[in-house]
Symmetry: C2
Subunit: 552 residues, 2 copies
């Protein structure tokens, strides 16, 4: 993997930062967060500004470019990858290490007095805007929204926003119809005394309407917003996707139906102006509900007195608690996935000794076996197929320059999953096709102990996931070992492989209490830089516990 | 324990809430937090307003009185006690249970439109003020500072503020002289670019000057503030305590000494006006450091642009990491304490079968044995001596009406500790003088397993205490059992038995990373209401770990 040469790009960006065609006044720093206008983790190629400007294409990272410096914040999964993909113009800021400054502290330490820091208000979540803006202000600087995305000025071959066909899901997959979901949502809105709810997360729109798309690789979602009123439904979506008869039928667009379930289809781009129009018509005390992680642009469109912000929308929480149709679908998906993996492992056992299998060909073969399964749609993320030292790059994706042959001398780690119409899978197995070293076996055992401790854990209903994190680490800690990533993330049902609001991590964000029906991954690991990586992952379902004395 | 009759008191308070002699405009609710102007947990009798108005005298609780209602928020340790001590005027709000409203939510639900909510600005911490004020404002109400403490108007026999003699501690106890502590503190101030630091917590003042007092029962502290400048030291303290020759010598008040170590002694009551005077003289960008838990009154005295707020002062963090003299002192204190407890247990074994030992006489005997130890100063908290059902009242203190005889038929729980000049102890043992039931033994075993799991835990330097909390619960959870309190709190060295900023709890406040030298309690428990209580507690010292593979 050779780093991207960014000297010229950075020069151009720094000129744009001073160009009155793009910014009202020159800005001294420009923030390029991961993500898109929906605060997605996985994003479409047209939204990969941070990768474009820096070369680093991991799933998490924020770039900040000042007149003199360029710095990239990312977490432990990506330290090695980011260091390899970025050239010497960039400083890597390793989040989670004690001496790494926060973005705010760093900016304050490098900016000249009274600086302006720009950011695209559609890309930055409102809570981050608030924190950043406050910190900059208290140091005499100001955070400004740059409406024109500055990347457009220098990114000549920026791809078009995707607009692929939709797939409808019937009750056998979803368990609950979209009208019923909307009715439940409105009940929550009444409870909280809000008149409107703005849905900005792509997987929330997909879940709410029982629709799936393929606008973003690996994530069966489509670009859209929804605004739900007490008796109106607006779906903001582009292109002619609503012309498809099965979609029209699914959404009852041509049916006689109760007015409050009539869906108004509105162009995707008009969400901001429509929201502004809604807000103009609000009486005092009437509220609009929005996640505090929604974009600053949409949040700002709602006058402060009318904003009702919560960390998660009720859709996010309802989506996390899988119903019976969904848990059954997840089970079916994992059984199919297990069949495909057994076929793969059988193939590997035969082929690896011949010396012809590489990380890439193994990943391809895994995809081939999965794609033969009924209801297969896509992979659920880029397959992490890594052997030997590559295994220590936590979110490694093999490319020709790094591709390594599997052998009987190295540990092989395969973290992969798929989207089936039934559900989403995510599984990691760590293997050795020869005789592992005693130390490698020992580390594997500690990781396995941690994996089992989490999957066997019994805990009170409502326990937050962070309290289970140390169960996964205890066996490693006893030997002075640890791993620099969380233990588990929520998993969608034929939706995003990473979803909130629950998880298992020493970090306490994305940490709504665990309750029966939630599905999270259980994936402790251990990594030795330049040597090997071990990770063992299943997804686990939270269920009511029967115990000896009393039940949780 | 019979509840306090509060009907007449509440009537009087509600009149005062409308009386222009005390409030500029009538207030519709009055908040009475625990604590004093130093945000102490244990408080002097003159500061026990919440106990005065409600009858509930546990160490944690907030009362709110509206025109119609009176409600008390407290945590799981005190649910039973509060219910027993309060009359039917009061609604008990059980914090930590899912359906319990926050104080803000409750106020919003019961207040008439546009209400004023009053609170003494010296008693409420600034962070709580901010949260409360914001929540009330967004619902159309307003939080107002009531300078006149309304309790004064109805509390006729309110005691005087104590002003007891001071004790000086030499280097053999403290390890570091006060001048050295001030110099280290100033280095931190330079690092953070602040000009002034306001010390409001009583134990921080005591620790900084290597002085102890006895103004607050069980806590060897004295009423004082300190304001440290880059070359000045002001100690705000009342009475003639600075007339004592040994104190004068200890503080070098009459010595020729570098100007920056010259202590100016200022009357206790003048802290607000002195702080205001300091702030008037500040140039732009000059900052005053204060804990965000300091009182709203002092915080508000510093103009916003000059405030530098952190969750903990550098004194709080330095105090938590014990030096060698302090850890040695703590060891000596615990050895003495163990001798006293062995004497007690020997006595109990002989006396309990005779039927003449009660919770109170056992507690008295424990105090008698402890007081015979060299360097004994006081108890470190009210002895929890509880047998049978009283054991389920987590912070029970025996009084004549509840006093129960120890017998061979019930579990006996003794949670007690002392202040020695060397250090502070806190230890809980649970005993049975006959044959416990199989179920009682089983529960004891789970609690013991949890206790051992925490004390044996190996973890990376910088791990936060909340990540260890589930180790203490795991054996209980496996049987569907749990306990409604944290697992551990920081312990001072001849200082407060509860101190921040570290602890072990499922709650994530008071949770600075653990590091070598910190001392916390390890006290899981299990309680069956109206039946028994089990708790096993030692204090534990965080030390560097040597492990098989690598060291933390």
């Amino acid at each position: 993997m050779s780093p991207k040469m960014t000297t010229e790009l950075l020069r151009q960006l720094r000129q744009v930062m001073k160009n009155s065609r793009y910014v009202a006044e020159p800005i001294q720093a420009y923030i390029v967060p991961s993500g898109d206008a929906h605060q997605s983790e996985y994003i479409a190629p047209c939204d990969c500004s941070r990768a474009f400007i820096s070369g680093f294409d991991g799933s998490a990272g924020t770039a900040i470019i000042t007149e003199q410096k360029a710095a990239m914040w990312t977490d432990g999964r990506y330290f090695l990858q980011a260091a390899q993909q970025m050239d010497s113009n960039w400083t890597l800021m390793k989040m989670g290490l004690k001496d790494t400054p926060t973005q705010e502290d760093w900016l304050v330490s490098v900016l000249p007095e009274g600086s302006k820091v720009g950011v695209d208000p559609f890309i930055i979540p409102a809570d981050q805007w608030k924190r950043m803006s406050k910190a900059l202000k208290s140091a005499g600087h100001v955070l400004v929204p740059v409406k024109e995305n500055l990347m457009d000025a220098i990114w000549m071959d920026r791809p078009q926003r995707p607009c692929k066909p939709l797939m409808t899901l019937d009750l056998s997959y979803t368990g609950i119809g979209w009208k019923e979901k909307i009715a439940a949502l409105r009940a929550k809105m009444v409870e909280r005394k809000v008149l409107w709810l703005v849905v900005t997360a792509l997987d929330e729109v997909s879940w709410l309407f029982n629709l799936r798309g393929s606008d973003v690789e690996y994530n069966p979602v489509f670009f859209a917003y929804a605004v739900i009123g007490t008796d109106t439904i607006r779906l903001f979506i582009s292109g002619d996707r609503m012309a498809d008869p099965s979609t029209r039928e699914h959404l009852l667009l041509d049916s006689a139906l109760e007015a409050e379930f009539k869906i108004q289809v509105v162009p995707y781009e008009s969400v901001l102006t429509e929201l502004q129009a809604i807000c103009v018509g609000l009486s005092p005390k009437e509220k609009v509900w929005l996640s505090d992680k929604a974009s600053y642009a949409l949040t700002e469109a709602i006058p402060k007195a009318h904003r009702y912000l919560t960390p998660y929308t009720p859709i996010c929480i309802a989506k996390a608690v899988k119903n019976t149709a969904e848990t059954e679908g997840m089970r079916r998906a994992h059984i199919k996935d297990a069949v495909a993996l057994c076929e793969l492992f059988n193939w590997l056992e035969k082929e690896v000794p011949k010396g012809s299998v590489t990380e890439i060909s193994a990943a391809d073969k895994a995809e081939e076996f999965r794609s033969q399964q009924n209801g297969f749609v896509d992979l659920s993320f880029a397959t992490i197929s890594s052997t030997g030292p590559n295994g220590a790059i936590i979110h490694y994706k093999p490319v020709p320059e790094t591709n390594r042959a599997l052998s009987g001398n190295e540990i092989y780690l395969l973290d992969s999953g798929a989207q089936y119409k039934d559900g989403t899978t995510d599984v990691t197995r760590t293997m050795h096709f020869g005789t592992p070293l005693a130390y490698e076996k020992e580390c594997f055992t500690y990781v396995l102990k941690g994996h089992i401790a989490v999957s066997a854990a019994i805990f009170p209903n409502g326990t937050k996931g962070h309290l289970l994190d140390s169960f996964a680490r205890s066996a490693l800690w006893d030997c002075g070992l640890d791993y620099l990533h969380g233990t588990g993330h929520g998993v969608g049902c034929f939706l995003n492989v990473h979803e909130g609001p629950c998880g298992i991590s020493y970090k306490t964000f994305a940490d709504e209490p665990l309750e029966a029906g939630m599905i999270v991954s259980d994936e402790p690991g251990y990594y030795e830089d330049e040597s090997f990586g071990i990770r063992i992952e299943n997804v686990v379902l939270v269920i009511p516990a029967k115990t000896k004395v009393s039940d949780f």
